[in-house]
């Protein structure tokens, strides 16, 4: 390590979009959040929150429990209504958007909920077909082909397509939910704790799957996660929720960021172990 790497970046004024240093480089912004404020009763969850996600990157979202990670995700998706501020998704301001325009926007993004949120009365294939049938109006045969393709892409065996979610294991449910999220070939993918509840091997495979799909489909991914391994392995940048705001940086930048929570999170025993492992993988 050379000298300037040991220098800490103080938690000072951030660049626009909550960034520690400017990452824009002329890249297109897929999600732009400005001055966001969310509030439940008297409890302010986010205040003056600025946040950018660039097109074609995988951005991880971390924060202490109760810091409002899921709330931020839900607000960006449009399930929560912000008190103030603007959210622009793929260049469209979602505030006060007409219902049809909102539907068009929602067709361009896929969401993987924490427990999958698959429709429990439908089989996996039917789950995948629901958004396609509703929005694309294909005939049944093509629907089946598309569903079978998505099942295969998500790495599920062919016979899983005809099973209901309750007949699947936790890892397979996640994959099925990913297949449904990808049903309409979205540009944006939101993942809520995709690897929670998976064993390390399954979590590793899931990370690889997300990464390879992100590359071949050109997805923009925003994922809430607590899995340090997946943060190291697949995230281009990491957003940390601190004091009702977001700090975005690459792993190296965040390691130097001078904030007690950030230091504890990334430099704690688990963070160090994950980094060591990743360094070994990269060195190979």
């Amino acid at each position: 390590m050379n000298e300037d790497q040991d220098e800490l970046i103080p938690p000072g004024p951030l660049q626009e979009g909550g960034q520690i240093v400017d990452h824009r480089n002329g890249r297109e912004v897929a999600i732009r959040v400005r001055g966001l404020r969310t509030q439940f009763g008297d409890q302010i969850v986010h205040d003056h929150l600025d946040f950018d996600v660039f097109r074609g990157e995988v951005c991880g979202l971390v924060g202490g429990s109760g810091s409002g990670k899921s709330v931020l995700l839900r607000t960006i998706i449009g399930l929560n209504y912000p008190r103030a501020g603007t959210i622009e998704i793929l260049g469209t301001n979602t505030h006060g958007l007409h219902a049809n325009a909102l539907t068009r926007l929602q067709r361009r993004s896929g969401v993987l909920f924490q427990d999958g949120a698959l429709f429990s009365s439908l089989t996996v294939a039917e789950n995948i077909m629901v958004p396609v049938r509703e929005h694309a109006g294909l005939d049944e045969e093509t629907l089946w082909e598309v569903a079978a393709l998505k099942v295969a892409i998500a790495g599920l065996p062919a016979d899983a397509a005809c099973k209901t979610p309750s007949e699947l294991s936790g890892g397979m449910r996640k994959r099925a939910a990913l297949a449904r999220a990808l049903a309409l070939d979205p540009e944006l993918l939101f993942l809520d704790e995709p690897t929670a509840g998976l064993d390390p091997i399954g979590a590793g495979h899931f990370d690889e799957l997300v990464r390879s799909l992100q590359k071949s489909l050109g997805l923009t991914v925003l994922m809430v996660t607590h899995d340090l391994d997946s943060l190291m392995a697949i995230c281009d940048r990491i957003a940390v929720l601190l004091d009702k705001r977001v700090v975005v940086g690459t792993m190296d930048e965040l390691l130097k960021y001078d904030h007690p929570w950030v230091k504890e999170y990334f430099n704690g025993p688990r963070g160090r172990a994950a980094r060591k492992e990743q360094a070994a993988v990269d060195g190979k």
Partner: protein, 377 residues
Amino acid sequence: MADAEPTLRDTERAGQPVLEASGSWTVFSIRRVQRPAKRAERAAGSRRPSQVPEIDASKVERLDTAGALEILSLAGGGPDTKVTTQEGAHADLFRLVQANMRTPELEQPVNWLEHALERIGHSWVETALHAVNLCEFFGEVLVTFVKAILQPRRFRINAVVQQMFEVWIRALTIVGILCFLIGVVLAYQSVQQLRAFGAETFSVEAVGIAIGRELGVLLTAIIVAGRSGSAFTAQIGTMQVNLEVDAMRTMGLNPVEWLVLPRILALTLSLPLLTFWGVMAGLLGGAFACSIYLDFTLAQFFERLRDTVGIWNFYTGIIKAPVFGFVIAAVGCYEGLQVSGSAESVGRLTTKSVVESIFFVIVLDAIFSIIFLFADV
């Protein structure tokens, strides 16, 4: 959307057939291509080249996995089809789709008669198994009950009292109101009919016997089945979905003793109490109607009731109540324990438990009628 229409064109390059795709091929646009293309395919029929053409997708503007799949399947191509593309992203997409293509297994059409017979057979076997399981469950409850009698601290008195509050006290209003209204309607109708014979004073007997023997207890049992039996299924079913019941088992707690027995005891005790309340409300309703249509005073109504309607008419009603209560609670708890996996099954089994318990109540009522007929009461 201002995308170019997705189009396919057959050409030839160096003697080889080439399928040229252009335009926008996304999940939203392929609907516009597939019909004419498929029709053309069918028209071409036997003239279709046996050789799968090469695909030239370099003029494709927008592409996603569904679009790539559609191009490949229209060309009759598979994982080995050669695809030329302009953009690297499109090549990635084709590679991903080709690696994951599967021929979907279409279901074999089944003869409708076979299908119907199979369904009927299934449902019969299911019903038979269900009856066996239900008997087994009744047995388990009785065994647990006997064990609890031998070891009285196994009775969860707190739970019983709490459940009784829920199924008895909280049901008083609804049972009271409904039975009162039925009493009014019954009295009014019998006055109307019996007036033709000049026998309208017999309305008192009609109301007294009908409410006391049948309607009071049946109405109460049906309300309770809809109100408490369904609640039992939903409560225990939700616990089952959250694996709470399994957690209990691992702690060495018997779910039948902790969840089922208190509910069954509470309902078996509560239903006679509720029935008594319902019968009283029904009679009051009858008296109220008679005081309007017959110029009876309330006192006259009850005097006539005492003189002409025997007390056994009330006993035959109330004897049935604990049995109904037991059956409703047992069915409710049994269906709750049958819940597995999904939230959807909670809903399905709750419906099933209500239908089943009302069915059992009415069947039992018929059996009781026969018994009382032979016992001559």
